[in-house]
Symmetry: none
Subunit: 233 residues, 2 copies
DNA sequence: AGCAACACGTGAGCC
DNA sequence: TGGCTCACGTGTTGC
């Protein structure tokens, strides 16, 4: 990284011919002197050509990156690279924790509601809501009911059980009529979903057989996905 | 994209001072002439400085990418970009069909049982079983019951509904006492799981209360994730 | 010696 | 007009 080039050599007499883009020798009286002083003509030419090829290689790769990452059609190089970086990070995140596949229930109760990073498709508007709690099969109907209250459509649910704990992950999307771009609407929806899950979590009996569930108009409990009786196995 | 720079201007007398890297005027007799001929000194200086900052920005992003993509520590720029490209492509591939995760129910009934490619964790022995059929909530208890008969532990279930169709994906693992390496045992287990799912599928009333199997789900039914309106009790 | 990869300054063009 | 991005040719360094 020699910052300062050592010296000038600014006035050798090699110039670029304006017509053909080829290197020629400038009209001068001291022909041999100049030639001996600089590199040979052929050397300079091949050098610049090699450099041109190198640039083309790099720019070609930049172009394919541009075609791979959306909305970068008219970005400058630096911004394009920045966008590539964030895309790689995002893809990595979702890939690691979904290709791995298993949703693993943790030991602490938890309610999480967040935008579902689609990563690829700029979908309408997705929420990823998860509830981690004790493995109580009877909470599933409650969950469903609570989520139905929100004006969202559940497109996917993922349930994992492990060692008496369970984690439920819901992916939901808003009605298309609502403006997905309105962040205020999003925040409101997510907040209501969060409250719904929270209420379900709070209603879980810590040890009793079954809870005094009054709220339900009809007694449609059950659908215990699996494991309706004993927790293990 | 003017390929050939238009002309030479090769012998203006601005040179780079070897010590400080600053632009100075070369010792010459025709001072004013030279200055008036080119841009002002300050202009040239700010220009080269801006260009330097631009390069630094780009190279900084390149470095970040290098840290993000493995095994690129000593690659040249072009190869690094090529590697970034292939990584983005690969991440995208797995992201669309795994992380994005939506299991999309198809129009044909289907039972599939296969070893669960873990991808990351070399687990004990996992089976991925899926059943695609009409969206009949009452099949869930049947499913559970049928799968309980097999000596497997369900670690994850994933349910997607779309346009009156549903797809259930189960990830199950065998008891640890059984030898996971025994391919014969595996085949046996998978076969029994397959039979179980098959039996559930066959039990689905094709037309209990409605026209059986019109080819197209022209009728958009509700997405009731696990609607329990019927079934037990 | 040659080749490859880099940083640099500079002209051109575009807001 | 200045600020910017880009492509170009060149000097330099390491193999």
């Amino acid at each position: 990284m020699g910052r300062g080039g050592s010296s000038s050599s600014s006035s050798n007499s090699l110039v670029l011919d304006s017509e053909r883009g080829e290197l020629v020798r400038a009209p001068t009286k001291l022909g041999q002197k100049v030639i001996s002083e600089g590199k040979s003509l052929a050397a300079l030419k091949s050098h610049s050509e090699a450099e041109r090829r190198r640039r083309e290689r790099i720019n070609s790769h930049l172009d394919t990156l541009r075609s791979l990452v959306p909305c970068t059609d008219k970005m400058d190089k630096a911004s394009l690279l920045a966008e590539v970086i964030s895309h790689v990070k995002e893809l990595k995140r979702t890939a690691v924790e979904a290709s791995k596949g298993f949703v693993i229930p943790m030991d602490i109760d938890e309610v999480r509601v967040e935008p579902h990073e689609d990563g690829v498709l700029g979908g309408p508007f997705c929420i990823r809501a998860s509830l981690c709690c004790d493995d109580r099969p009877e909470i599933l109907p409650n969950l469903r009911e609570a989520l139905e209250a929100c004006k969202l459509e559940t497109v996917k649910v993922e349930i994992s059980t492990l060692a008496g704990r369970m984690k439920n992950v819901f992916v939901m999307t808003g009605c298309k009529e609502e403006n997905s771009d309105d962040t205020e609407v999003r925040r409101l929806l997510m907040s209501s979903v969060h409250k719904a899950l929270r209420s379900v979590l709070d209603k879980i009996p810590t040890s009793s057989e079954f809870s005094p569930r009054i709220m339900l108009p009809n007694k449609r409990r059950r659908i215990s996905l699996f494991d309706s009786s004993s927790s293990s196995s």
